[in-house]
Amino acid sequence: MEFSEHIKTANVEDVVLHQPLHPPSKGTLCITGHHLLFSDREEDSGRQVLLLLRNVDAVEKSSVENLMNYFGLFPKPGRSDRATESSGTIIIKCKDLRVIQLDIPGMEQCLNIAQSIETLSHLDSVAEMYPFFYRPSHASLGEQWGLSTPERHYTEMEALHERWRLSTVNQNYSVCPSYPPAVIVPKAIGDDALKKVAKFRQGGRFPVLCYYHKKNGMVILRSGQPLTGANRKRCIEDELLLQAVIADSDKGYIIDTRSAQQAQQARMMGGGFESKPCYSSWKRLHRPMERGKTLQESLIKLVEACGDKSPNMDRWLSKLENSKWLSHVQTALSTAGLLAECVERDGHSVLVHGSEGTDATLLLSTLAQLIMDPSCRTLEGFLTLLEREFVQAGHPFQQRCSHSAFSHARLQQECPVFLLLLDCVWQLWCQFPLALGFSEALLLRLATEAYSSDYGTFLCNSDMERGVHQVKDKTHCLFQALLKPKERDQYTNPLYEPNELAIWPSVHPQSLQLWSGFFLRWTQQAHHLELVQEEIRNMVIEWGKLALS
């Protein structure tokens, strides 16, 4: 691949960089295949800004073609002359919500730079992405990739071996392209039956176990919607599978992330829901959750309100409300709370799905586990949970995170489900300052990494695709990196105290706050609070050390 063909101007001197939290500075700008590099000339310390081009969401050119330039069209010859007389400004809006401005001398250079950034920031080919080139000195390829595997997950939970088995029916991704090769299913159901069930579920996503509640043996399953279609098709194997889940307990719940009406309408498109007569032991609860475009637009509105520079902000709260972001947070948390309640308080197993079962479904199962299961609340536990429930479970990161809130590109598959999850986790973190073993800094890091990263963890849309691109062989693993001693210190919560109890979030609008650490991240105030949190962490660690000595 030739990145150079996209780079007409690689170096520009005397560029002025305006970035949040810093005074403007003058220096040299350099564009490479994956990065924008700015070196501050005035400072001896050699302060540099290295921006991954993948992080760029939108590039805006506001050319400051002054009058001189018009005269430049007249006899005055020479390109260089013209270039010095004009200058251009590029505004770069990043997926981590940072907005930076570059004043570049020379209109042509400016246009070249803008063009390069635009092209290189959304290259489609996975193999050209930076994680395949990132070779840090402190790590080598071939180290363990990922934190766990479905096999290990199964082996570790002995309590479920009696009634559940690990199936490798999807070994070649032939049954369900978005599932990992091994999944946990009821022991009573054979692989042949699973193949039939897969044909009856959207995307081949047959019901699999994702959580086993040790206290009462109840489970959470997730799947795609049943393809009942307009003429109410049935699938005996599907019904048997669900019956096998319940076994001797009296009933189970199905949480459908669509409204009853949406579920009805889905039948016209070949989808559907589990009807009462066919699944008599299952009670269906419809809890509509926003998805796709609606969620993405909500993010766009919110970010727009947060970036509003006008001094008159007296309508801020209305704007915040109108973005509806916080009400999406509320819906997600309360539905996850309901799911956890069914399992923990009510003592029943639950199947979660919407249509594809790769977005809201995963959001709910992840949050519910965090609420109920103390082992998910440590730093390792949480990362393992994300790996299992989002990465391995086939959340299409590449499609969902290809653009963020600033992009002018037409929306396709973008949707901030993962960001919504992190926001919900942050709300839990605020409501239970002692219960989670990781820090806000981790959530911020993940929010950035999901959109643009040095690591391969969030590349591609499924395990299968990652296999095709040899992601595990050719890139480094983010989760492993985060757990290395030096990094991990930054991401632990110094106030953490293990707590066996479920943490039930309060979901009233009064209890939910704007995640200002993320959405207002590039303001002085949020930056200041980030530093203070770090200070507090160091303080507590220091006290602990001396107390132990």
Binding site: K251, Y253, K283, L285, C306, M313, D314, R315, W316, L317, S318, L320, E321, L326, S334, T335, G337, L338, E341, C342, R345, D346, H348, Q431, F432, P433, L434, L495, E497, W504, S506, V507, H508, P509, Q510, S511, Q513, L514, S516, L520, T523, Q524, Q525, H528, L529, V532, E535, I536, M539, V540, E542, W543, G544, L546, A547, S549
Partner: protein, 607 residues
């Protein structure tokens, strides 16, 4: 078969109210209520508490001369209420003997702290008459010629809170007197100004007779006096009331000269006068004899800060109460919150204080006033001082700040809060001090390591603002307190606080002397103080107690750490023990540190 009951599924609430152990109910329900020394039982009664969250709860109520205490008798719902009678602003009868419907006959109690209580009684034999009359009498003792409970209580504490604030000592801490400012006792008998304290600091060059002439031109004689002075640049915060300009545009040469002396004291070209009011209100005040400083004050510039008056603030908080109690607004919470304008008022007060602090830290003296100089002025000067002087961010420092800028300078606590007064609709009521505490809370949220005290202290202060158990917030001004022998006959709130400081301390406090704190007064960075305004709603409240417990542990760990550190330093090099912190006397190290004693020695700088 119903779907699982849940807080996530319906509005039925049961989950968050823990159930009591059954054996405790075998005991006499109210026998274990811990009464204060001097507290007496007045009446107890079977009653039904109409809890807005868990419905009608049967139990027993006890009224003493200090509190209303309710305990449920139902094993499944453990509800306990413990409300100081001082918190009650209004008691009304609900329904009549012939009212229909369940629990429609009883009492309706409005509280000053964002909640209402409703009790139902049996609809026979005038069952509520005695309790209503007794409650009415003891909740409003002032209206019945009875003493406030602060005069009845026999509580004793290790610490004496009345010694926290000594005016002269505090002025000395600031470096007064110096060659520009002096301390005057002209108001010793409260003759110059009956709402000012006895000790005042005024420009050195100003004679006593000048002060009297200035007093005649300032509303209620509240002349410009020094609140705070910057140690290095000598810029001062001066507070007063509005000048009596009136419709005819009166002038007073003495007042003009006096303000010029203030400017002259630190030798800057211009004196900035902050008028807290909106411009139009200041103009309107001329009609009643007031006004603002005009062009005749040559070397002064006037800035209006657009903060609204006590009536606007009262209505704003009332609107806030409407959307948070008993039921919180769900569907349009943020826009409803916006329409109360409460946060907007907070923003204006904070940004006014920021302007004052900024002016002073850049070396210019300022004069702050509103109309009478006891509401908005107190907010602005005290918040600016909190930003400028790290001493006020300590536990003792905040006490001094409240004693000084609020209590001694005559914020009309009695009128604003109506202690013991049955007249609940009085137009003088206003939550000005609550608003100040909200601003302090906003600052502590924005600077989590800058304040030695924690949220619990702020809540405790606000609870006892109403309780009338301590003398601290009683009466409108110092002269009234003297007349009523307040210090001799009542206990100070700071006695309670300073006898058990650890629960009020912030483990993460890191003293930083000389640092000016500028909070961000933008709507985006202000939050509603949910843990105060919505604390009665059990669904909103989060796990406070484990967090408080953890903080206490951390505090102990920190103290251990400091102790070990000091031991290490002592054994290493004795001189290091001071840790460089003693350099600036305005910032004491953590209260528990032994270095503190040493530190306070710095304060007693001789004249």
């Amino acid at each position: 078969m119903a779907s699982p009951v849940s807080v996530y599924n319906s509005n039925v609430l049961d989950a968050h109210i823990s159930s009591t152990s059954r054996e405790s109910l075998k005991m006499e329900l109210l026998a274990d209520v811990g009464l204060l020394p001097g507290e007496e039982r007045i009446i107890d009664k079977d009653i039904i508490y109409i809890c807005p969250f868990s419905g009608a709860v049967k139990g027993k109520v006890l009224i003493t001369n200090y509190r209303l205490h309710f305990k449920s008798s139902d094993a499944d719902v453990a509800v306990t209420l413990d409300v100081p009678l001082g918190t009650i602003s209004r008691v009304e009868k609900m329904g009549g003997a012939s009212s229909r419907g369940e629990n429609s006959y009883g009492l309706d109690i409005t509280c000053k702290d964002m909640r209402n209580l409703r009790f139902a009684l049996k609809q026979e034999g005038h069952s509520r008459r005695d309790i209503f009359e007794l409650l009415f009498k003891y909740a409003f003792p002032v209206s019945h010629g009875l003493p406030l409970f602060a005069y009845v209580t026999q509580e004793k504490y290790e610490e004496n809170g009345w010694s926290v604030y000594r005016p002269v000592e505090e002025l000395r801490r600031q470096g007064l007197p110096n060659n520009k400012w002096r301390i005057t006792f002209i108001n010793e008998n409260y003759e110059l100004c009956d709402t000012y304290p006895a000790v005042l600091a005024v420009p050195f060059k100003c004679k006593e007779e000048d002060l009297r002439r200035v007093a005649s031109f300032r509303s209620r004689g509240r002349i410009p006096v020094l609140s705070w002075i910057h140690r290095e640049n000598r810029a001062a915060i001066v507070r007063c009331s509005q000048p009596l300009v009136g419709m005819s545009g009166k002038r007073n040469k003495d007042d003009e000269r006096y303000l010029d002396l203030i400017r002259d004291a630190n030798d800057t070209a211009k004196l900035t006068i902050y008028d807290a009011r909106p411009n139009v209100n200041a103009v309107a005040n001329k009609a009643t004899g007031g006004g603002y400083e005009g062009d005749e004050y040559h070397n002064a510039e006037l800035v209006f800060l657009d903060i609204h008056n006590i009536h606007v603030m009262r209505e704003s908080l009332k609107k806030l109460k409407d959307i948070v109690y008993p039921n919180v607004e769900e569907s349009h919470w943020l826009s409803s919150l916006e329409s109360t304008h409460w946060l907007e008022h907070i923003k204006l007060v904070l940004s006014g204080a920021i302007q004052v602090a900024d002016k002073v830290s850049s070396g210019n003296s300022v004069v702050v006033h509103c109309s009478d100089g006891w509401d908005r002025t107190a907010q602005l000067t005290s918040l600016a001082m909190l930003m400028l002087d790290s001493h006020y961010r300590t536990l003792k420092g905040l006490q001094v700040l409240i004693e000084k800028e609020w209590i001694s300078f005559g914020h009309k606590f009695a009128s604003r809060l109506g202690h013991g007064d049955k007249n609940h609709a009085d137009q003088d009521r206003s939550p000005i001090f609550v608003q100040f505490m909200d601003c302090v809370w906003q600052m502590s949220k924005q600077f989590p390591t800058a304040f030695e005290f924690n949220e619990r202290l702020l809540l405790t202060v606000l609870d006892h603002l109403y309780s009338c158990r301590f003398g601290t917030f009683l009466y409108n001004c110092e002269s009234a307190r003297e007349q009523n022998a307040l210090r001799r006959k009542t206990v100070s709130l700071w006695s309670l606080v300073n006898s058990k400081t650890e629960v009020y301390l912030n483990p993460f406090y890191t003293p930083e002397s000389g640092r000016v704190l500028y909070p961000v007064a933008s709507m985006r960075h202000l939050e509603l103080w949910v843990t105060y305004y919505i604390r009665w709603n059990p669904r909103i409240r989060q796990q406070q107690s484990p967090v408080e417990q953890r903080y206490l542990e951390l505090l102990a760990l920190r103290d251990e750490y400091i102790k070990k550190l000091e031991e290490l330093q002592l054994s290493d090099a004795p001189r290091l023990a001071d840790d460089g912190r003693g350099a600036d006397p305005s910032s004491p190290p953590p209260a528990s540190s032994p270095a503190r004693q040493q530190h306070y020695a710095h304060l007693h700088t001789p004249f």
